[in-house]
């Protein structure tokens, strides 16, 4: 009798659990849709509010009034605002971001070309930042108040306060010109540029796909300096947050439990405490990654890196509204997806958040 009831109860819990999972997936999709809708609304309104006349930008300021009016009608700018917004959304959902005035390519094509460059740079920078930043933060935390803690703090602060253009120029001067350890600006040596067919647009991946190790190492020597300089910033931030999360966890009761069990200090820190530190840290890492994915304009200018930041800035300076808004939508979408990814990871790392 009791076995039967227990089975029933278990069956019910399982059913509730699975509906909970489907429910949370549904909720996720719903909140994504809402956020994306909000993003589109904001970019659309920015486009209409900005004191830049897209008609004027297209026809030039010497066009006669009749031409101006006709183009205005062609662009749909005489329609009521809500209709314009509807058209805007349906265009974007079909992947039509309009044409860039500056490059005369469809904006989406331009972004497909420039985004991988930024993605590659940001990803490498974040990987470096995580690989160095977490151990640095842990090291500082377990030596709190002693010299390793101060060293990490000073290095971090320096990284945080130095202007990136200066750091970039100095990096080029020292590691490229004087020491010749790394390659200069650009994603590949000029000599190699035509050798590579963009498949993914990620230079490191494309060269590997073609199996050309010379090209691969050339791409590595090009990306390593700008990526390290961007990484310095995220490293400083990640190390600082790791330190404070670590200190908080090390004072928790379960750490004392682990000590009572006779566990090694090494395992206590890297398994017990870090397992808990990773939960809030994943959000920190995701946010700093998302920031880098926006494209770091200064770094891209100094290293002649044809990325998203450079593209959006150029378009902005040339009043190329389609390109600016398209770029903004992409940046927003990237932010949303990185946030969602960190949510998923959060659930993976913290069993309490799995419901």
């Amino acid at each position: 009798m009791s076995a039967v009831t227990r089975k029933n109860r278990d069956g019910r819990t399982r059913a509730r659990l699975s509906s909970g999972k489907a429910g949370s997936l549904l909720r996720l999709v719903f909140s994504l849709a809402i956020t994306f809708f909000g993003l589109l609304l904001v970019t659309f309104l920015i486009g209409r509010v900005l004191p830049i006349d897209p008609v004027l930008a297209a026809v030039g300021d010497r066009a006669p009034q009749a031409v101006y009016d006709r183009v205005r009608e062609e662009m749909g700018l005489n329609l009521p605002l809500w209709q314009q917004f509807f058209i805007y959304i349906s265009n974007i959902l079909q992947g039509d971001f309009g044409r860039s005035v500056l490059t005369s390519n469809p904006v989406l094509e331009d972004i497909k070309r420039v985004f991988p460059a930024t993605l590659e740079l940001a990803t490498i920078a974040t990987i470096i930042g995580v690989i160095l930043g977490i151990p640095a933060g842990v090291f500082a935390a377990i030596n709190k108040g002693k010299w390793p803690d101060h060293v990490v703090r000073v290095i971090g602060l320096a990284g945080y306060s130095m202007p990136i253009f200066w750091l970039g120029l100095m990096g080029l001067l020292v590691f490229y010109m004087k020491l010749d350890w790394v390659a200069g600006p650009g994603r590949l040596d000029a000599f190699y540029v035509d050798f590579i067919e963009p498949t993914t647009g990620l230079m490191l991946v494309d060269t590997l796909i073609e199996g050309d190790m010379d090209l691969f190492w050339n791409a590595v020597s090009h990306i390593i300096l700008p990526a390290s300089i961007l990484a310095y910033f995220s490293l400083a931030y990640i190390a600082r947050m790791t330190r404070s999360f670590m200190l908080e966890q090390l004072s928790q009761e379960y750490i004392l439990t682990a000590r009572v069990k006779g566990i090694s200090e090494h395992r206590i820190i890297w398994r017990h405490a870090l397992g808990n530190v990773m939960v809030p840290l994943v959000t920190v890492i995701a946010l700093s990654y998302a920031n880098l994915l926006e494209g770091s304009v200064l770094t891209e200018i100094i290293f002649a890196w044809p990325g998203l930041g450079l593209y959006i800035t150029n378009s902005l300076l040339n009043a190329d509204m389609n390109a600016v808004l398209g770029g903004t939508v992409v940046v927003g979408a990237v932010f949303i997806s990185v946030n969602m990814l960190s949510d998923v990871l959060y659930r993976f790392l913290d069993p309490r958040a799995r419901r």
Partner: protein, 280 residues
Amino acid sequence: MSSETLLTVKNLEVTFNTPKGKVHAVRGVSFDLGRERLGIVGESGSGKSQTGRAILGLTAANGTIRAEKMQFRDVDLANLKPKQWRKVRGARISMIMQDPKYSLNPVMTIGDQIIEAYREHHKVNAKEARLRALEMLEAVKIRDPERVFNAYPHETSGGMGQRVMIAMMLIPDPELIIADEPTSALDVTVQLQVMAILDDLVRDRGMALIFISHDLQLISSFCDRVLVMYQGHVVEELRASELHNAKHPYTKGLLNCLPKMDGDHSDLPTLEREASWAEG
């Protein structure tokens, strides 16, 4: 109880450096422990928990432990290096912590945490450790060990969490268990169940127990002998069965504060303290 001495503590002192100056938490505690169940009772701040932690060398970083003698069987606890401590902790002396809500790692499964305690001191493969852990969960009267083994701490109730704690701390088969307020965080109805499980296991395996609590009734029903602590001193030591014959006014005061089911129902007396007790 055999007369063999497991642990001798002589003149134990624990002091903390705090921003407000030195705090003497334990001021010269001495006792001998055989294979018995010793209760340490006292109000909060009496130094009972710090006595327990000092035996494991786990005083917080800003504290110092000094003792004329702290001998556990063949081990001189007063002069141990970190590496030697790790051979004592868990394997020979273990401690049951107060609140399973905080004392279990929230992101590790219960099974992993128990296995970890076992494998730290016994060289066995993962499969065997798992079997031992499941056995141990059964020994603390958990009905479906498999489920609890794979569960995370937040998925268990307080009573179950504390049984998991007992399983985890007893699995390496230590000789001495220190239970620091093991039931204070639990409901009254669950308290007795958990204490009974702990008591059974300690007796079955011939372990010694130091039971730290402020609960005189629990102490008197689960211990052989009682140390009464006040402000870092042991003010009285007596057999648990003789608790009602306590001589020291502090112990009497504590006893008087217990509500009685029968007899008069007037207000309970407030505990009165005298400065001279702290000079012991």
